[in-house]
């Protein structure tokens, strides 16, 4: 197909040239430049350049029902009207456009608009610059000179505290700029791919975003400004992955970025998102990388980081920047319980208590005073962001107080390592597994398949501790005697957030899940019910250790099933749980609760359950569970593996 098209386009070009020469009846022949373009087009065809990986990544073409389709949605990105679907015609059109005379304004110059294409085509076709001159592109060159990039770093901004839904994180690029004052990292520039959402917010925002209704653009911001947004305002830890790119590769990446700068992609939150487009950029710089191919349906930023780190030698260096929230946690962990209370009081107490606090502070040794004040200033910064009028005077007073202490010699405690938070350490997002068990003495085999992402008891490395986000989880059971297939569960979403309260924050813990499942208190062969549950409560880590997390919820439950007397029931519940992280690989969860249905049916359901998960490797885990719900006893054990879908 492309061969024929290619043939036609050559014929068409010859015809067009002939026609134009007829109509003007001036030159008997095509111009030397046009001749050269024809020659280059033939050469490109002979070399099969239109299917060269470099050309395909520069045009973002993907195979599409036997043909090609580019993921770039802006039509101005293509020089041929058919270019989005036809890499070959686009290549011809590009060569023809590059041969055009140099316009006075290089913003109008196709060569300058497509620097990465130019760079590659001139090399691949060994284009003679005497016959097809290179244009100066003063503006673009000045811009590149100004950026002066010699290194590229992929930045991962991790999850939001107390919001498992954001545990996917966000990625962007940082360019190391030659010639920054004293080579300060904060003065580098970051490039982010983001949706231009205008003033939309709330539900329309979410829907339009999911359906790809926003246009995504690349944008350039000083790195300190981007960090401010993520690490300070949103409380996200930031991880940096320096790419092992040559100067040539960095240049191509920037050239390609400039090509994309003026166009757009439709932004899809799930797949054609920031992380996907950054991977495509990295591929343009080094076509031998196959990064985007590894994703089909969801592109989760943390997964893209994992894919990068799995490429041999691609990541040269990993560094970490703690968020403001993490800095406060780290500083607070060095304080005694008395000092932590003092710290909180200095920021939030009213005048009288505050003055008492100052008195308590003054009797501490100077280095302890400094520590308390520095922790207080971070806490105050967080308060200030939420509510400036109420906290700015106090914040100012505390800063004066700290400055007055002057330089204080503090015993440097070693920086707390948070390397286990690095996203690439986490397990893959999808899960499948086989279990064997029995319910009410009926044995069964159970097959589970889950699209995403992390369950509470799975290994925590690389994930936000105390969170669960499971989406699209199906469990099918085969009962052996009597033999029967049953859909045990189909869960649409099952989210938990267990953020312990401490001196500085008292977040709610919460959980919500909805889907279809067997009701635990009903007979083993009862019908599947639609059900939706929610709960709210608090969590604590009582002995100041991460090993034990206690939490309790008040919950509401709605079930709808044909087996129920009125077809539905509604309950309120209370429950208490203990999550024991016995080791890095072994977690156990003990829950006791009581649920009372009072609409649809009136019944009391005592609940007891014990779940354990043991991680055998990054992706493999064994699970063992027991539950007793109104004397309906179920126990099962199984083997599970995470994978990239």
């Amino acid at each position: 197909m492309p061969i024929i098209l290619r043939f036609y386009s050559v014929i068409a070009l010859i015809l067009a040239t002939l026609l134009s020469s007829f109509s003007f009846a001036q030159a008997p022949d095509v111009s030397p430049t046009q001749n050269y373009v024809l020659e280059l087009q033939k050469k490109a065809y002979a070399l099969d350049l239109e299917h060269n990986r470099q050309w395909l990544v520069l045009g973002h073409w993907r195979s599409h029902f036997g043909g090609w389709l580019s993921e770039v949605d802006g039509t101005d990105f293509f020089l041929s009207s058919n270019g989005r679907k036809n890499p070959s015609e686009e290549l011809d059109a590009t060569l023809a456009a590059f041969a055009a005379a140099e316009p006075s304004d290089d913003h109008q110059d196709t060569q300058c608009r497509f620097l990465a294409r130019r760079h590659w085509l001139y090399q691949a076709l060994q284009i003679d610059v005497k016959r097809m001159p290179l244009h100066a592109c003063a503006n673009a060159m000045a811009w590149k000179q100004k950026l002066g990039a010699d290194r590229v770093t992929l930045i991962f901004a991790s999850a939001y505290l107390n919001n498992p839904a954001s545990m996917f994180g966000h990625t962007f690029l940082k360019f190391h700029t030659r010639g920054n004052p004293d080579d300060k990292d904060l003065l580098n520039y970051g490039v982010s791919f983001a949706a231009h959402t205008g003033d939309d917010s709330g539900v329309p925002f979410a829907l339009i975003g999911l359906l790809g209704g926003y246009k995504g653009y690349f944008s350039l911001l000083p790195y300190h400004q981007t960090l401010k947004e993520y690490a300070n305002l949103e409380g996200r830890d930031v991880f940096e992955y320096q790419m092992d790119f040559t100067q040539d590769e960095v240049d191509i990446l920037i050239d390609h970025l400039l090509e994309l700068e003026q166009t757009y992609f439709y932004y899809f939150f799930f797949d054609k998102n920031c992380s996907y487009q950054l991977l495509a950029l990295l591929e343009a710089a080094r076509p031998s990388l196959h990064l985007t191919d590894r994703f089909f349906y969801f592109v989760i930023p943390a997964d893209t980081v994992r894919v990068l780190t799995q490429e041999n030698g691609l990541v040269k260096k990993i560094s970490y920047r703690p968020s403001l929230t993490t800095q406060l946690q780290d500083k607070a962990s060095e304080l005694s319980s008395h000092e932590r209370k003092l710290t909180r009081g200095l920021v939030t107490d009213k005048a009288d208590a505050y003055n008492l606090g100052l008195h308590d502070l003054a009797i501490l040794p100077e280095d302890r005073q400094a520590r308390v004040l520095e922790a207080a200033l971070i806490f105050s910064e967080e308060k200030l962001q939420a509510n400036p009028p109420d906290f700015k005077e106090r914040d100012h007073a505390l800063k004066i107080k700290r400055a007055t202490l002057g330089s204080v010699k503090m015993n440097e405690t070693p920086a707390i390592s948070h390397t286990n938070r690095q996203p690439e350490l986490g397990h893959d997002p999808s899960l499948t597994g086989l279990s064997y068990g029995s319910k009410e003495a009926h044995s069964f085999e159970e097959f589970q398949l889950r699209a995403a992402y992390h369950s509470l008891l799975s290994k925590e490395s690389g994930f936000l501790p105390g969170t669960q986000l499971e989406a699209m989880r199906a469990q099918a059971r085969y009962y052996n005697d009597p033999s029967k297939w049953a859909l045990e569960q189909f869960t649409i979403a099952d989210i938990k957030s267990l953020m312990p309260i401490d001196e500085f924050r008292q977040p709610y813990s919460w959980r919500v899940d909805l889907g279809f499942k067997h009701l635990d208190d009903q007979a083993w062969d009862s019908a599947t019910a639609f059900n939706i549950n929610g709960g709210m409560g608090y969590s604590v880590e009582p002995f100041n250790t991460h090993r034990l997390l206690l939490f309790s919820f008040l919950g509401a439950h709605f079930d709808s099933a044909p087996d129920l007397e009125h077809g539905y029931r509604f309950a309120l519940s209370g429950e208490a749980s203990a999550l024991l992280r016995a080791s890095e690989n072994w977690s156990g969860l003990l829950t006791a609760g009581y649920r009372r249905n009072f609409l649809g049916e009136v019944s009391d359901i005592p609940i007891f359950s014990l779940n354990q998960t043991y991680a055998l490797s990054r992706n493999w885990e064994a699970r063992l569970s027991f539950q007793d719900v109104r004397q309906k006893i179920e126990s099962k054990g199984g083997l599970f593996v995470h994978f990239l879908f």
């Binding site: 954001s166 300060k184 520039y189 989760i300 930023p301 330089s407």
Partner: protein, 160 residues
């Protein structure tokens, strides 16, 4: 000799002040939070966690930027406006990455950055006299401090 130093320092300070004479600032204001309610934050982050921006950055940075780059003579102003609170905190503490970066923007290198931090801690109440000190005031006060610290002005100016 002494005269020379004073003259050099005076020139340096004048230079520094000329470079940062435009105290009108960048009009950057602060980073504003568009979605204030808890629900909106959750909702925004649910869809946004995979990219995009929950927080909008107020427009008006154009005074200090050209072709998306921060203009050289506005670098101090711009940096200070974005990192106003962090900078004042690090000044009070007498150390920090942002403070060192600001020092570097003033031309201080190596041990001069430590001296810069020491100076901003020591003169904190002159640089940030009140809770309402704006970023533009902070820069103006900081520039003023160089005239009372000629050695530092010299050390940093020499590196420019």
């Amino acid at each position: 000799m002494k005269l020379k130093v004073i003259l050099a320092a005076a020139l340096m300070v004048a230079g520094a002040q000329a470079a940062h004479a435009d105290d009108a600032g960048c009009g950057l204001g602060s980073l504003i939070i568009t979605d204030n309610t808890k629900l909106m934050q959750v909702l925004a982050a649910t869809t946004n966690g995979i990219g995009g921006q929950t927080f909008a950055i107020s427009t008006g940075t154009s005074n200090c930027k050209a072709q998306n780059f921060v203009m050289n003579d506005k670098a101090i102003q711009y940096f200070t406006e974005v990192n106003h609170n962090d900078l004042s905190r690090e000044m009070a503490q007498g150390q920090g990455e942002k403070l060192n970066t600001l020092a570097a923007l003033y031309g201080c290198q190596g041990s001069a950055q430590k001296d810069f931090a020491k100076m901003t801690q020591g003169s904190y109440s002159q640089i940030v006299p009140s809770a309402d000190t704006q970023a533009t005031d902070l820069v103006r006060n900081l520039n003023g401090q160089f005239s009372s610290h000629p050695d530092l002005a010299k050390a940093c100016g020499a590196a420019i």
